[in-house]
Amino acid sequence: MNRKMVFFVFGRIGQTVGALLLLPAIVALIYGEMLQMQSFIAVAVGAIALGVLISRCSRTENKVIYAKEGFAIVSLAWIGMSAVGALPFVISGEIPSYIDAVFETVSGFTTTGASILSDVEAMSKSMLFWRSFTHWVGGMGVLVFVMAIVSNMTDRSIHLMRAEMPGPVVGKLVPRGKDTAKILYMIYIVMTFVQIILLSLGDMDLFESIVHTFGTAGTGGFGIKSLSIGAYSDYSQMVIAVFMMLFGINFNLYFLLIIGRIKTVLKSTELWAYLALAAAAVIAITLNLLPQYESFGAALKDSFFQTSSVMTTTGYSTANFDLWPSLSKGILMLLMCIGSCAGSTAGGLKVSRVVLLFKLVLGEIKRMLHPRAVTSVKFEGKAVDKQTLNSVLIYFAVYVFCVIAAFLAISFEPFSFETNFSAVIATFNNIGPGFGNVGPMGSFADYSAFSKLVFSFAMLLGRLEIFPLVIALSPSTWNKSRA
C-alpha cells in the first residue's frame, strides 16, 4: 500500500473541495446572505488549509499506485468530501443536526436526491445552490475532475478512473488519462450550459435554471420547490425529461459522435437496450394510468417524465407517483434497480450489466438443452471475456446482499414494508424518492439517526459500486507488511 500517495491525492481533493465551496459563497454574496457566506468561506479556507497540509506531509517520489490504492483514494475522498461538505449546513444553522447534514450532502454527492428536509422552500438560496452543486460535482466524479486539472498526477491514473466511474468496464477515450478526463468534463460542461440556456428560455429564472440543470446533469434530483418540477410549465418539464435521458447515456458515445463515428454509436447494444426499455416502460405506464387521467396527452407526459426521472436515477417528479396503480409502481421499482448506461452520471445496476446478465441466463438455458454447446456472450459486437462476465455476476450477487443487509438494518423502524424497502432501493440506486412515507411528497426526516447513517452508507456504496468502499474499509488493505 502506497499510503503516502493515497494521502497526497486525498490532500489534493481537500483543496479542490475547498475551492468548489467558494462558488456557493459567491452566490451567497449576490443574494446578500452574509451568515451563509461566512460559513462557506470558513469551511472552504479550512478545507484548503488542511488539504495543503496533508499533501505537503505526504509528498513522495514513489507515484506508483495499484488498484487497491485507487479504491482507497476514491473511498477516502468521497467520505471526506461528504464530511466537509456537510459543515456549511450546520454552521449556518439551516440543518442543525450534523447527521442530517451528512445525509443531505452524501445524497447530493452521490446524486441520489433523497432529502431530510420537510420544507425545502424555507432554505436560503446559497444553501440550495450548494445542495444542487454537489449533484453536478458528484455526477462526473471528483477524482476525474482532479485528474483533468492537476498535471500528470500519476501514470496509473486509470485505477482512479476505474474506481470512480460506474460500469463493468472502464476504458479511455484517448491515450492520456488526463486528456480523457478533460474530454469527459468538456462534454459534461457543454451539455450543462445548453440545458441552462433552454430552461431559462421557459418559465424558470436563471437561478432556478441553474439549480435544476445541476440536478439533471448529475442525475441527482434535489428540487427547490415542494412540488419538485410539477411547479413549472410543460415546456420546462419536457426539457428536463429529455436531458435526464441524455445524461443517462454513456458519455463515450458522445465522444464517438464528436469524432464522427456515428455508425459505431448507432450500433451500440447498450444504447438501444436503454431506449427500448424506456419506451416500453412509458407505453405500459401510460396505458395503466389512462383511467386516472383526463387525457391521453397528460398521462403520456407524466409517464414519460417519471420513467425518465426514475430510470436515470434522478428522482424529480411532476406527479405524486405514490398514488399510481400497482403495475406502474412495480415498473418504476424495476427501473430504479436497472438504472441507465454505464459511463453516464446515473446510478443503478446499469443497463449493460442487465443485458449481460440476461444473455448469460439465455446461454445457461441453451447449455441445459445442449449440454455440450459452446456459448459465447457478445456485447457491442465483441465477445465478452470470462473475467468480465464473472465480475458482472459477482457484482450482482454482492448488490443483492447489500440491499438485503441495508433493508434488515433499518427494518426496526415503525414504517410499512413498502416504505422501508423502497427507501433502501431508492438510496442504494441513487434515485431519491421511493414510495409510501418516502414518496415524492414525503422525506427521510422521520428516520432515526442510525438509519440515516445506514442510508448514507448505502448511497456511497451504490455510487462507487460497492467494491471500492469494501476494499478501503478492510484492514488488510492498509496492512504495512503487504505494502
Binding site: 496509473r156 465483441k382 473475467q387
Partner: protein, 453 residues
C-alpha cells in the same frame, strides 16, 4: 504526437514504456485481453483489444490520425499486413518488425515499397550486429557506432586496480596523447557527465567517443587491448544465433552452437553447415567443458530464458573464458546480472526501442531543421547519445565551443565533417553540414537547438 503499437510482447512493452516516457500519446493494440489489461494498468495509454490488421480494431485505435504505426506482433506476416492496412487508412509512418531471414534477404526492399513501410526492423539482426562488434573489440562492454561508421562510442568497465584509478581527466589527457573524449561515467547508481576535474575510480563504467583507429590505440596504451575473438561458443540456436554465426563464419572464424531441441539443431545445421551444431542441454557443465569451453575465446548465451543465460554465463566466467556476453531482456534481471559481475549484456528490445524513440523524435522535429540521425541510450537509459545533422539555421554554428553556452549535463562528444571525425576541443566550431554527436544526461533532445541555454 500519436503512436499506435500493435503487439504487446516483450518488445512491444519496452517500446510503449520508452515512448510514454518521451511524452507521446500511445495506443496499445493486442489480441489478448489479459495482456491489454496489464498494459492499461501499468502505463498511461489507451488500450484496444483486437487483431491489429482488422479494420474495425484499427478504426477504434484511431489509425487515421496516427503519426506513427508500429507492428511488433510475433508474426511477420501479420505485422506486414497491419502496416499495409494502417498506411492505406491514413497512418503517416509505419514500422514493421520483420524477423524471418527469408523476408530479410532480397525481398525486403520490394516488400517495403509495396507495403508502404517507412522502415522495417529486425531486432535479432540488430542484436547480432551489436554482438559482432563487441566480439571484435572484447575490451568493450558496449559499442555504438554513428553514421559513416568512423566515430564510435565505446563503453568500458574499469577493473580493480585499473591504472586509470585516481586520475583526473585533465591528467589523463596529458598522459596519453590520443584523440578521445570521456563523455559519461556511471558510478554505482549515479551517472555523471564529467568535466576536466573529474577523477576516475576503479569500478566505473565509462563511455568514450573516438574514431575506430584511435580507440584501438588508446586501449593498447592502457593495456586493456584484447585480441578479437577467433572462436566463439553460442548457447541457443535462436534467430540471433543464426545472424551472429553467419557473420562470424563469413569472416573465417570458428563457431560452436549448442541447443537442446533436435529439430532446431537440424534446421540450423542445414542453413549454416560450416558451424558445429551440438544437440544437448547447455546447462550441463560437463557438456560445455567437453565442447571446449576452456579454450574458446568467447561465450555468448542467447537462449530465450534470461535466467539460464545469466547462470551459464557466470559458470563460463568462472571457467576463465576471456569474453562472456549474455542476452538479458528484462531490465530488472539485467541489473542483477550486472551486480553478479556480468558486465556485458545485450538486449534486442533495447536496441529496437532506441530506434523507435529516434523515429518518434524525428517526426516530432519534422518542422525543425536539425534532424536526428541516430540515437542511443546508454547506462540504463539515463544517458543519451544523439547524432544531429546541422542545418544553416543552427544559432551555435561558427562559434568556438568554449564560448558556446551549453545546458548543464550536456557535452559535444564528436563532430563528423565529411569523412573526417573530430574529437572537439575548446577551439573547434560547429559548421552547417556537419553531423554532431551530443551526450546528455537527464533530458531528451528533439532539436540540436535544445542543447543551448
Amino acid at each position: 504526437m500519436k503512436i499506435i503499437i500493435v503487439g504487446c510482447g516483450k518488445i512491444g512493452i519496452s517500446i510503449i514504456e520508452s515512448l510514454v516516457g518521451e511524452g507521446s500519446d500511445v495506443v496499445a493494440v493486442d489480441s489478448s485481453p489479459s495482456v491489454i489489461d496489464e498494459i492499461g494498468n501499468t502505463y498511461d495509454v489507451m488500450c484496444v483489444c483486437g487483431n491489429g490488421a482488422d479494420i474495425e480494431t484499427l478504426k477504434e485505435a484511431g489509425v487515421s490520425k496516427a503519426d506513427l504505426f508500429v507492428a511488433v506482433t510475433h508474426s511477420d506476416e501479420l505485422n506486414m499486413l497491419a502496416c499495409f492496412v494502417a498506411e492505406r487508412m491514413g497512418a503517416k509512418h509505419t514500422i514493421a518488425r520483420i524477423r524471418n531471414p527469408e523476408y530479410n534477404d532480397k525481398s525486403l526492399d520490394f516488400l517495403g515499397k509495396q507495403l508502404g513501410l517507412t522502415v522495417s526492423v529486425n531486432p535479432e539482426w540488430l542484436a547480432a550486429k551489436e554482438l559482432y562488434n563487441i566480439l571484435k573489440l572484447p575490451a568493450a562492454v558496449n559499442i555504438e557506432s554513428f553514421s559513416g561508421g568512423n566515430l564510435e562510442m565505446v563503453e568500458l568497465r574499469l577493473k580493480q586496480q585499473s591504472i586509470l584509478d585516481g586520475l583526473s581527466l585533465i591528467e589523463l589527457r596529458k598522459k596519453y596523447n590520443a584523440k578521445f573524449l570521456i563523455c559519461a561515467v556511471q558510478r554505482g547508481e549515479e551517472v555523471y557527465i564529467p568535466d576536466g576535474n573529474f577523477v576516475l575510480k576503479s569500478g566505473d563504467r565509462i563511455g568514450i567517443t573516438a574514431s575506430t583507429t584511435e580507440i584501438q590505440k588508446l586501449l593498447r596504451m592502457l593495456g586493456l587491448m584484447q585480441n578479437s575473438a577467433k572462436s566463439v561458443m553460442i548457447l541457443g540456436a535462436s534467430r540471433i544465433s543464426y545472424y551472429l554465426t553467419k557473420r562470424f563464419i563469413n569472416s573465417g572464424n570458428k563457431v560452436v552452437v549448442i541447443d537442446k531441441d533436435e529439430r532446431v539443431c537440424e534446421a540450423f545445421a542445414a542453413q549454416l553447415p560450416e558451424a558445429v551444431v551440438i544437440c544437448g542441454d547447455g546447462s550441463e557443465q560437463e557438456l560445455l567443458l567437453e565442447e571446449g569451453l576452456g579454450s574458446t575465446d568467447a561465450f555468448v548465451a542467447l537462449t530465450g530464458m534470461d535466467e539460464l543465460n545469466i547462470l551459464v554465463s557466470i559458470f563460463a566466467s568462472n571457467q576463465g573464458v576471456p569474453k562472456v556476453i549474455s542476452k538479458v531482456n528484462r531490465s530488472q534481471l539485467a541489473l542483477m546480472a550486472d551486480n553478479l559481475g556480468l558486465d556485458c549484456i545485450v538486449s534486442p528490445k533495447k536496441t529496437v526501442s532506441d530506434i523507435l524513440a529516434r523515429y518518434a523524435r524525428a517526426i516530432k522535429n519534422s518542422q525543425g531543421s536539425n534532424s536526428i540521425e541516430t540515437l542511443y541510450r546508454l547506462m540504463d537509459g539515463r544517458v543519451e547519445a544523439v547524432e544531429f545533422n546541422v542545418s544553416k539555421d543552427f544559432p551555435g554554428s561558427k562559434i568556438p565551443l568554449k564560448d558556446l553556452a551549453l545546458k548543464p549535463n550536456t557535452i559535444i562528444a564528436g563532430i563528423i565533417r565529411g569523412r573526417k571525425s573530430i574529437i572537439p576541443g575548446g577551439m573547434d566550431e560547429i559548421q552547417a553540414g556537419d553531423r554532431v554527436v551530443v551526450i546528455v544526461a537527464g533530458q531528451q533532445l528533439i532539436d540540436l537547438g535544445d542543447i543551448l541555454r
